[in-house]
Symmetry: C2
Subunit: 216 residues, 2 copies
DNA sequence: CTCCTAATTTAGGTCAACCTAACTTTTATT
DNA sequence: AATAAAAGTTAGGTTGACCTAAATTAGGAG
């Protein structure tokens, strides 16, 4: 197993889990490699029994592949907690460096880091950190974009993409922040949110990348 | 710069610094690759201006190569401090995992780790940790093997090699431990050391891999 | 000074991970 | 159903890092 292969498995999991097939196109985009390279690598991984390919349709992890993907995600998220909690990283910096650190995980390292951090449940961006045995129970959340004017809710999770993370942190959005939707622009228009201290506007696109709890 | 190349530079520094040429044989041994691979890689690195080769004689870092080597060593040793101080690693485990972590060092990570650890001066095995600007002032130490019966001194530094580190830790030797040499076996025989609590014997070979302060 | 041995270099491969270009299959549109 | 566009695969090539085997050089022993 190399860092490269690990990233293929991890992205395959993030894109499709065990629910549905993931297209090579998507993989090629998130991994930033040519489609041909994806075909090639997925073939190797399927020979190693880590995923199953439906030619021309897409691919999906096997239980073995899933195990590896989850342990990667576990490492990634624990490192993020460390970088932010102890080293003063920003959201996007943490995500970047965790992308490398996740591959250094003889599981002794991950498990000890987990203990050092006192077994955190979520990464700084709100994703669940799988347990050492691979167990991971996802919360059921809804998209901010699906809220209506007047709804009050809490930010629970955000997608991890450098520019988006910087944008959110500049806006002062944090996991756990409570807010009320004060207006929703028509035709994929912007959302206006009343936070505790201030009011902010975010684009419809951003609202599609933010997960929130059920509104009250 | 790849992790591989980094390790070549680092080992070249550890073996020869800026004082003398290092033979390919030595490099081939510490890096555990074939001599031919060393020739090849050193050629590439010399084309990148990171070292200078005297054909058939050996090679030596340039200032550029030195800078990289030192920052690697810095990362390596800081990670060791973290792993031992906060994650409960043993001497040899720490050295092993630091070997990987050292390559993840966008210097923002190293520098923040340094601050988090409160700017430690030495790694757990007693080597000096270079500063962020590359400055590094080595202490002048002597070999335990050169001590005479009756000498009293302190353990200051040990060479980092897995089996050796485990051996030392089992013997209860730590950096800073004070001891008195109570006997020296003839003909490369063992050294007997009186520590605070107990008396131990170590082989001549081990005594050549342990550095101590001037005896009083 | 010659010869031998050990160290080094060179030559010719392998393997992982990528690429581009050409071809095939699927799917969406008329 | 025919065709065009999009997605996927195959073929052929590159680069980095390694290897073994063969040739070359340096340095020491006689
Ligand atoms: Mn990664
Ligand atoms: Mn995260
Ligand atoms: Mn290393
Ligand atoms: Mn050390």
């Amino acid at each position: 197993m190399t860092p490269n292969k690990e990233d293929y498995l991890k992205e395959l999991y993030k894109l499709g889990g065990l629910d549905h097939l993931v297209s090579n196109k998507q993989m090629s985009q998130v991994l930033e490699v040519a489609p041909a390279s994806v075909s090639e690598m997925l073939n190797k991984l399927s020979q190693e029994g880590l995923l199953v390919i439906e030619p021309y349709k897409g691919s999906q992890l096997t239980p073995d592949g899933l195990r590896i993907a989850i342990s990667l995600l576990r490492g990634h998220r624990l490192w993020e907690v460390f970088l932010i909690r102890h080293l003063g990283y920003t959201w996007s910096e943490a995500h970047e460096d965790a992308e490398l650190l996740e591959h250094i995980s003889p599981s002794r390292l991950t498990d000890r880091l987990d203990r050092f951090l006192n077994y955190p449940e979520y990464c700084p961006h709100g994703s669940v950190i799988p347990k050492s045995d691979g167990q991971t129970n996802e919360d059921t959340l809804m998209l901010l974009a699906d809220l209506k004017t007047g709804d009050t809710s809490k930010i629970k999770k955000v997608l991890e993409e450098k520019k988006f993370l910087d944008y959110l942190q500049n806006q002062g959005i944090e996991i756990g922040t409570q807010f009320t939707v004060t207006s929703v622009g028509d035709y994929e228009g912007p959302f206006t949110l009343a936070l505790e201290e201030k009011t902010i506007q975010i684009s419809y696109k951003a609202a599609c990348q933010i997960f929130v709890s059920e509104p009250k």
